[in-house]
Symmetry: C2
């Protein structure tokens, strides 16, 4: 079904605001920044969104849906372990494409907002939990008797993989060097018996 | 040597501002917030610090020195691997003490400031690099033929451990549950052959 003009405008505002939030964070972004970047009139913006919090929440929801699609597409390979590794590689490539600037929107919001905004924290929690569960399902399927996979409970190992990715993105963002993510990825592969 | 009155005031401003920066981040903290929290007059504040950026940089430097001391004290145990594990446990206990609120100042600043402030990024980079090197030195010393320690180059494994800790703190901050850090710690121990 074709999108209505209203839906197109709403989407455009969401995608443009996302770029600003990734670059500046929530607190450092004003409604005027969003108006300037989108070129949408203030009245029009408030027609679609109740305010900055509401718009940012929509950005987060939209990014979450996009990330879940990205994850599904990233699970490529002949066996469950290869699927996880390919997925981690795809995430790291995205970071490299953006030259380690901006990092992970969910990680950023996690650190900026999760102490002070329960709605935002709930979305990030859903992202981390779903991501962990997807990895854990593959780890359960993995019949291979590789060291860590056979010795660490799937959910626990999956959580650690997500922590390595988020921590690795953080380190790469500081160093602006691909070495940090490459090192983390190499260790992940060995953890998964590759 | 006893500190002068000026040094005591300067220290007090730094420690108090740190609490605000941990809670609110850099961009969301105003000079007025700092004046209100410290009770120090504006003129007095500007006597010690050129402005918010200068004061925040001093907070970061001070936190870095404190963290390096904390790390040294945390390396307890009979052998290098035990020292690393004890250190990770000590970091996680600090997070639990603060009920997973605030997270890691360095991680927070890494995500908020490293794209836009090179001076801040340089301090965080020093924290991550020094921390990694300290872990790597113990991994080199570890003569044990435990799976990951013998198969992953020390610097690479050390970097992954730091990533797990930072990522784990991020996840715990979102879930406000100790399970995330406990799971990461359990995996770390198995990674280190325990």
């Amino acid at each position: 079904m074709r999108k209505s003009k209203g839906e197109i405008t709403r989407d455009y505002i969401i995608k443009t605001t996302r770029k600003i939030l990734v670059a500046q964070g929530f607190h450092h972004t004003s409604i005027n920044d969003i108006i300037n970047a989108t070129g949408v009139k203030k009245g029009n913006l408030y027609y679609y969104f109740a305010g900055k919090e509401d718009l940012s929440f929509s950005v987060l929801q939209d990014a979450k849906e996009e990330f879940f699609s990205f994850l599904e597409q990233s699970f490529q390979g002949d066996n469950p372990i290869d699927k996880i590794i390919h997925s981690c590689e795809a995430i790291f490539q995205e970071q490299q494409k953006q030259h380690f600037v901006g990092g992970c929107l969910f990680g950023n919001v996690a650190l900026e907002m999760s102490d002070c905004n329960e709605r935002f924290a709930a979305v990030i929690h859903e992202v981390f939990t779903t991501w962990t569960e997807k990895f854990a399902r593959f780890l359960e399927e993995a019949a291979e008797n590789t060291s860590l996979v056979s010795r660490v409970p799937p959910i626990q190992l999956a959580k650690t993989l997500v922590a390595v990715i988020e921590g690795g993105i953080m380190m790469a963002r500081v160093s602006k060097s691909k070495a940090d993510l490459e090192d983390c990825l190499s260790t992940l592969k060995i953890m998964l018996g590759r």
